[in-house]
Amino acid sequence: MHKKASSQLTDVLLFIFIYIPMTIVIVASLVTTPSKILTQSLQPMQLDATIMHERIIQQITYYSPLTGSHQRTIEGIPQFYPTNKRYANRASIGEQQYYFNKLFFDTAYPLAPVVYNKHSYYQHMNGENEILVETIHVFPKNYDTFN
């Protein structure tokens, strides 16, 4: 009688403290994992940063179709209209630095890549002298707005 009662008590404890929490965890993960995977596929920040790098390069250089090289033979500077997208970049052209959303860049850059995402690109430009262009792009972990 005592042995049966003890075994039933063990079953109840196992049920309450192991099986039910385990079920909750499994159900929660089954419910949230697909939506998290889907959300993750909607964060193409590396592609976004690559496109922005190309845009900056196009704004500040002339592309030679003969040599395939970018040449600093125009005086353009990187300029964009502000948007609601929480994003910032810094373009360093030789000694000069240009910012887009400087306030957010100064906040996010030191905390990347732990709290924010960061993508950097380098490119050499020809001109009267060779110039190194570095662009750094920072984003939140998931796309977000400034508001």
């Binding site: 049966k4 009662a5 039933q8 008590l9 079953d11 109840v12 049920f15 079920t23 499994i26 159900v27 089954l30 419910v31 697909p34 939506s35 889907l38 596929s41 909607l42 193409p44 592609l47 976004d48 496109i51 922005m52 190309e54 845009r55 196009q58 704004q59 002339y62 592309y63 030679s64 179709p65 003969l66 040599t67 040449q71 033979t73 125009i74 005086e75 353009g76 300029q79 964009f80 209209y81 502000p82 948007t83 609601n84 997208k85 994003y87 887009f100 020809n126 001109g127 009267e128 796309y143």
Partner: protein, 284 residues
């Protein structure tokens, strides 16, 4: 007595809670939650709306990334159930009302005219047609027509220039001759062949801008020209007898314009001279 009764109650509770009926009920409950969630994910269009809004914004961003002197047309296949609303720096994708749609942002370039309240209903189109000509981007349900005329970025830099209008210069145009002098030297060579315009520039800042505006004028006056290229040249890649040495050896900015045209007549020479004169007048 209480103890005995309590133990009996515990045993009954334990039996009840571990009974197959409760287990089956719990299993069904879990299955229902999972199926409801899967159904919600499958039937909702939130993901699609988000996906297309972001993809369209990146598509537009990538159109801005193409060289400005290239006229470009692209098509984007978007399910007709979605309507699009383009504003400056923002794209909204929606089904019934813009208030319930998904928004994503693109980075508007200062040199381009902003898109304002451009609404394209899904039922009116199969594809979205994007076109970029110069500093204008257009998005429409219909296929756009692109022109060949090159776009030049705004440039008001003044030069002290003078055209050389001598008969000798005109006679020597087929070998290559100097037609503009001053702060900037322009050499022109006219040869017979399939219509083609090549402008070589020295490495000086802004020579590309003036090369572009001269090219624009030549397009207007030589109708058979349909393609052109502007190439900055570097002395270290040229042999000693290369004609392009004439622009790289000079301290001053210089251009070499090589025009291939089916017929070389005095009229063709005159329109080239007139185009250069117009440029000199504008830059004065």
């Amino acid at each position: 007595m209480n103890l005995i009764s309590s133990k009996k109650g515990d045993a009954e509770f334990a039996e009840m809670i571990t009974s197959p009926l409760i287990m089956i009920a719990l299993g069904v409950f879990v299955l229902v939650i999972v199926l409801v969630q899967v159904n919600k994910l499958g039937s909702s269009t939130d993901y699609q709306e988000n996906f297309y809004a972001r993809d369209l914004a990146l598509h537009l961003d990538s159109i801005y990334a193409v060289r400005k002197d290239v006229n470009l047309a692209t098509t984007y296949e978007l399910p007709t159930q979605f309507n699009t609303l383009f504003n400056s720096g923002e794209i909204k994708l929606y089904q019934d009302s813009p208030l319930t749609g998904k928004t994503f942002w693109y980075n508007q370039d200062y040199q381009y005219k902003p898109l304002n309240n451009l609404n394209i209903a899904g039922r009116t189109r199969e594809y979205l047609h994007f076109a970029r000509q110069g500093n204008k981007i257009s998005i429409s349900a219909d296929k756009p027509k692109l022109s060949n005329n090159p776009y030049c970025e705004p440039d008001n830099k003044k030069f002290n220039l003078e055209t050389i209008r001598s008969q000798t210069a005109f006679d020597n145009i087929e070998e290559g001759t100097e037609l503009v002098t001053g702060d900037l030297t322009v050499y022109v060579k006219l040869t017979q062949g399939e219509p083609e315009l090549t402008v070589y520039t020295s490495q000086h800042t802004n020579t590309i801008m003036i090369a572009c505006t001269i090219t624009q004028k030549l397009y207007g006056t030589l109708p058979k020209i349909t393609e052109h290229v502007i190439l900055p040249v570097n002395k270290k890649y040229l042999s000693a007898d290369d004609i392009r040495r004439s622009i790289t050896d000079s301290e001053e900015p210089a251009l070499l314009i090589i025009i291939k045209y089916p017929e070389i007549t005095n009229q063709v020479k005159s329109v080239i001279a007139a185009a250069l004169q117009a440029e000199v007048n504008e830059r004065a």
